[in-house]
């Protein structure tokens, strides 16, 4: 069984079109959605996602609208777990409690905040668990083993099973090479009964097939941002069918990642 976690940037290319793209992902067979709230300085993102964030912010993205969009999504597709990805600046600005309350109310199940690591988290992990939200750590195969053990101990003590693996040392958008190092890392996590979400650089059925046996879901990000960009530039303008055609294009792209052509 091949499961995908599909990533999108809220507000890219517009609020409504990002909503349509999300529906397309689910239609194409996504099992999880990772909705990124754009931040002006996304240091852990590659060029494509970064560009999408800039465009979403230029289009007037606000947290208020972002949470409204996520709420609409969670009502429309209640069967799909929604994870919210963003950066520390947005999470701490009005207070972590405020941000997490908003997320909870919008129907989010977990959060991914790469620049709030578990041991410098401003209280974010505990606050998320208190609300029944999953704070999902992003780990890398090159991580120091003592540090990893410390994290896994913390997760276990809270019954937290989700973990996000950024494969290869690098930034999203580059090709993924399923090296022995990557695979043994994934196997080690799977042996601990963790639900592993892994990706970075996934763009083909072959990669999804190779990775699927080791993970709960394969994460697809930059590739889909590219699909969304292509589709919206192709259909351009403000055609009333734009939402529909975007949804179809995204659904098709997602589906070809899961099923052999």
């Amino acid at each position: 069984m091949k499961k995908l976690m599909c990533h999108l940037v809220a507000g890219y290319p517009t609020m409504n079109l990002s909503f349509q793209a999300a529906l397309g992902m689910v239609e194409g067979g996504a099992s999880y959605l990772e909705v990124q709230f754009p931040f002006s300085d996304p240091t852990a993102d590659g060029p494509r996602i970064q560009e999408a964030c800039v465009q979403a912010l230029d289009g007037g993205f606000t947290l208020r609208e972002g949470f409204l969009m996520v709420r609409r999504l969670s009502r429309t597709i209640p069967e799909i777990p929604l994870f919210l990805m963003s950066y520390a600046s947005l999470v701490v600005r009005r207070g972590i409690s405020w941000f997490l309350d908003q997320a909870k109310e919008a129907g989010v199940q977990g959060l991914i905040v790469p620049d709030l690591p578990f041991d410098q988290d401003e209280g974010y992990y505990e606050a998320a668990w208190e609300r029944g939200l999953h704070p999902i750590s992003v780990v890398v195969p090159t991580m120091d083993s003592k540090r990893l053990d410390q994290l896994l101990g913390l997760l276990q003590s809270h019954g937290e099973r989700y973990i996000y693996v950024a494969l290869r040392t690098g930034i999203t958008g580059d090709p993924t090479n399923l090296s022995d190092e990557n695979l043994s890392f994934l196997n080690m996590l799977a042996a601990k009964e963790l639900k592993v979400l892994a990706g970075f650089g996934i763009s083909s059925y072959g990669q999804v097939e190779a990775l699927s046996p080791y993970v709960e879901a394969v994460v697809v990000g930059s590739y889909l941002v590219g699909i969304i960009r292509e589709s919206t530039t192709r259909f351009g303008g403000s055609s009333p069918d734009q939402g529909e055609s975007l949804k179809r294009a995204v659904a098709k792209a997602v589906s070809t990642l899961i099923h052999p052509v």
């Binding site: 240091t43 947290l63 600046s89 999470v91 620049d115 690591p117 991580m143």
Partner: protein
Amino acid sequence: MRARSLVDGYSKQEVGNNPPILTGFFGSFGGRYVAEVLRKPLHELEEAFLSIVPSKEFQEEYQAKLKSFVGRPTPLYYAENTTRLLGGGRLYIKLEGLAATGAHKINNALGQGLLAKRMGKKRVIAETGAGQHGVAVAAVCAHLGIPCRVYMGEVDMMRQKPNVFWMERYGAEVVGVSSGSRTLKDAVNEALRDWASHPEDTFYILGSALGPSPYPDMVRTFQSIIGVETKEQLASLGLKPTALIACVGGGSNAIGFFSPYLYPIDESEERIKGTETSNMPRLIGVEAGGRGPGKGQHAARMSGEGKVGIVQGYKSRFLLDEDGQVLPTHSVSAGLDYPGIGPELAYLGDRGRIEFITATDRQAIEAMDFFARTEGILFALESAHGGAAALRLLPSFSKEAVVVVNMSGRGDKDLFITARELDRERWREFLQREVDSLGDAL
């Protein structure tokens, strides 16, 4: 964990009631808020910094090169004409801009470059805004024989073409950054990304006292030479400073200049602030007031609307909107045009040890002009913010007071900005002739 005194030359007593430990935090500011992929390289950097930099061999090499390559010590100049003209305190200027490549940036670039070499790194990367840090890194890398790549926002590349040209002469590869606002903060983002992709062989030379730990501690350590030297130079004249003034972009020249006088922070209010009668000098940081208050018009984080936040790996005060998005900034001096401030300065500002004020674009340009005519000394526009504050405050001091302003850079680099501001027509004619003569040569 080792004592901060090992790397800084702070004696244990001077560190006083502050924790003499490198924790990476200053109060609640600082830290290492980065994605997991950068934790390991930062940890390795911290280990190398704490073990290599205090060693005798490193210090000998560093001190020798500060002399032969950087041109230290830089002079401490008594601004007699200004003192006579304005009345009030005696003004001294630390001529840091006489260091090689024209600014204090080279103290840090050299220190980190030597560390990179001793760590066996094969490649150096750096970010630059105005280009001063980039030029310093490029020169150091040429000197040390390490390949170097400098990230620079495309907007800055256009504004600071001469520095791009010089970096390339030093053999550096200058890479334009087209993301975000295409300025300094985006160049930092891009350098962090590069480092995350090549952590094993790459050393990232960060240019100011900010970013994830250990950078704020490391950059202060390498810039502390400014303050240590000034203190010695004053002592040789039998003087103690009443007030120190420095411009603040990210804060590296200020924290280095202030470093001998930062701690201890005493609970008695007077000791914190420093007064003319106390042993502690007043410490005054000058931020870019730009075109005035208003969103996007300035870069006043401490004296303006700065909010506590976490950006680019550290917690400090930033110019942020209500959602936490980083706001645009403006300053006539590219080196002060940045939305964040080093965490130690923010901490010391909140504690009241450092006072923060602003100087506007106009005041900085006027101060640059004033010191050129009055003293024969050419301030960089960044440093001229400190100069403007000195001119404003000097008359309020007593005759015995010793006020020292750090001229962090010299003004030659700003020719294309100051000429259009102060001599627009003739500058236009000159440029036009240059363009025409280029055409003839084709």
